[in-house]
């Protein structure tokens, strides 16, 4: 049953042909059988899941169920969950049990969704391969010698391996769209400011945004609708009316103008990804969309600008981990300063330390204008490029990643090689726009390829509607990997 669409699962729950307890039990059994191969979960909360499922069944019996009531779900371990371990993929928080829920977690609890566990991630969401996790790497369900992408790789792999139908993630530079692409599922990062960051452990605050994973755009729309909304506890949360993300699902593609940024198609994309992306775009055209060439001339600057802004904000955000109020404290030290230095050296992994050092440098006296301000100026140019492109098109389409999933360990020795994989995703975060990735076929080694759709601000319903129309006409999103069961 958990392989069905959320709409069908909800109908079955209402018809009493399945119970929330049965769904949770099925999800937990799949995790027990499959996750030994994948390592998508840091924590499995069996007791909490079964209690939540019983409560969901009571709500369904009382006629008080919403579209997510009784649906099993996993949260990325970046979201604080009251009473449940929240590690953020770090030794620093390996023993941290949050005293409160993130806003997103509260919303999904209130909607009656049943959390079965917390998913693996790159440490503090810094990474593109899920290999920097203190809990060990997550493996790609399509080929366990490959990375699942990151930083929300655990959530993407859990959905791809059909352990849960939906999962939350966060996307600072591509961390929802990239693993969605590499794992062959659908993932959306909404407009900056639409999903509260309260209780979402901060990496780069002007870029961090919660997002949703599911097997289809239709299911993503249901999850994202439940996550969005104003929250006064997040100072960047937008006070506006929030549209139902499912509102555009029935809208045909006829007349939709799809912009193809010439810079995305010029170089850098591998031949197999190119073939799948071209075929997917041809399908959109067949379904009635029109194609126009657009230009994002400053897109190539997105990676350098991102790798200034994100580390700068990370160095500031992560200064809170000092071994005093929570998190790891070194066992031996000589004085207070030595306690800070040793606790942080022991608690943080290599990539997190590198980003803290880069950020500390670019914010230090004499360098602030040359790096941080310069990067913020480039950020404006990048946002202006998108604004100009949206004068000629309704949505932008292109690849999500330059290649299909690569081998575990292949890029860990050279951080710059890892960073370059973010080429198609980071500009969207710098501009604060919504973006999604949906399955578009398969490339080398039978590994999934993602198509990225980028919309103007607040166009989530339109993006999901376009992807849904594509998914009505194609079946890439229904393909599932075969995971060896224990």
């Amino acid at each position: 049953m958990i392989d069905s669409s959320l709409k069908d699962i909800a109908a079955a729950l209402r018809a009493k042909t399945v119970s929330a307890v049965e769904l949770a039990t099925d999800s937990l059994a799949r995790i027990a059988a499959r996750d030994g191969q994948i390592n998508a979960f840091v924590t499995v909360d069996r007791d909490g899941a079964l209690a939540a499922a019983r409560a969901a069944d009571a709500r369904i019996a009382a006629g008080d169920a919403g579209p997510l009531t009784g649906i099993p779900l996993a949260h990325k371990d970046v979201f604080c969950t009251e009473g449940v371990l929240t590690t953020c993929g770090s030794k620093m928080l390996a023993n941290f049990t949050s005293p409160y829920d993130a806003h997103v977690v509260s919303l999904l609890k209130a909607a009656g969704a049943v959390m079965v566990g917390k998913t693996n991630m790159d440490e503090f969401a810094m990474g593109s391969s899920n290999e920097s996790s203190h809990s060990g790497p997550t493996r790609n369900p399509w080929d366990t010698s490959k990375v699942p992408g990151g930083s929300s790789g655990g959530s993407a792999a859990a959905v791809a391996a059909r352990m849960v139908p939906i999962a939350t993630g966060t996307d600072t530079g591509g961390s929802v769209r990239q693993p969605a692409a590499l794992c062959g599922i659908t993932g959306i990062k909404p407009t900056y400011g639409t999903v509260s960051r309260f209780g979402m452990i901060a990496y780069a605050s002007s870029l961090d945004q919660g997002g949703a994973f599911a097997r289809s755009a239709e299911d993503c729309a249901l999850l994202l609708s439940a996550m969005m909304g104003h929250d006064p506890r997040d100072s960047t949360s937008l006070e506006r009316s929030y549209d139902d993300c499912s509102a555009g699902l029935g809208q045909p593609l006829a007349g939709l103008r799809i912009g193809l940024p010439k810079e995305f198609f010029a170089e850098g994309m591998s031949a197999d990804v190119r073939a799948a992306v071209d075929a997917a775009i041809a399908e959109y055209r067949k379904l009635g969309a029109t194609l126009v060439e657009v230009s994002l001339p400053n897109a190539r600057l997105a990676i350098p600008a991102y790798y200034v802004i994100a580390p700068a904000e990370a160095s500031s955000n992560l200064s809170r981990f000092d071994g005093v109020r929570y998190g790891h404290r070194a066992a031996e030290y000589t004085d207070l300063n030595d306690m800070y230095c040793k606790s942080r050296a022991e608690g943080f992994g290599a990539e997190v330390k590198r980003r803290i050092l880069v950020g500390t440098y670019v914010l230090s006296h004499g360098y602030y204008d040359a790096y941080y301000i310069k990067a913020q100026k480039l950020r404006r140019l990048i946002a202006q490029d998108f604004a100009a492109a949206f004068e000629h098109c309704d949505i932008i389409a292109g690849p999500t990643t330059p290649t299909v999933a690569y081998g575990l360990g292949e890029k860990t020795a050279d951080p710059v090689q890892m960073y370059l994989g973010d080429i198609y995703t980071v500009a969207v975060n710098l501009a604060g726009l919504p973006g999604l990735s949906h399955p578009a076929g398969f490339g080398a080694g039978g590994l999934p390829v993602g198509l990225q759709l980028i919309g103007d601000y607040f166009s989530e319903a339109r993006l999901l509607g376009a992807a849904h129309q594509f998914q009505q006409a194609t079946d890439w999103h229904t393909r599932a990997p075969t995971v060896q069961e224990a």
Partner: protein, 95 residues
């Protein structure tokens, strides 16, 4: 640009990160690789461009000056490495 070993030591000190002597050179090499990527920014003329700090350019909201939080000291201190009588303990700072 490239960072000297002294500069790496200095920023590690500012960041309160102990770097073992054996880690210094490897860290320097990786940071310099990252900075060579970052340097690509400098090729673009950004004179007269206003820096963008936030996609929506919002002003910070104000709220009424009333108490909204309850006392949850025990819950918050339960996750602290060391507390005593409601206080967080750290090594002696003032002799």
């Amino acid at each position: 640009m490239s960072l000297s070993l002294d500069e790496v030591r200095h920023i590690a000190k500012l960041a309160r990160l102990e770097l073992a002597a054996g880690e210094l050179e490897a860290t320097q090499a990786k940071l310099n690789g990252i900075f060579s990527l970052i340097e690509e920014m400098q090729a673009v003329n950004t004179d007269g461009v206003e820096p963008m700090s936030h996609p929506q350019e919002l002003a910070q909201r104000l709220r009424p000056d009333v108490v909204t939080e309850t006392d949850r000291r025990a819950a918050f201190q339960a996750v602290a490495p060391q507390t005593e009588a409601g206080l967080y303990l750290v090594p002696k700072v003032i002799e």
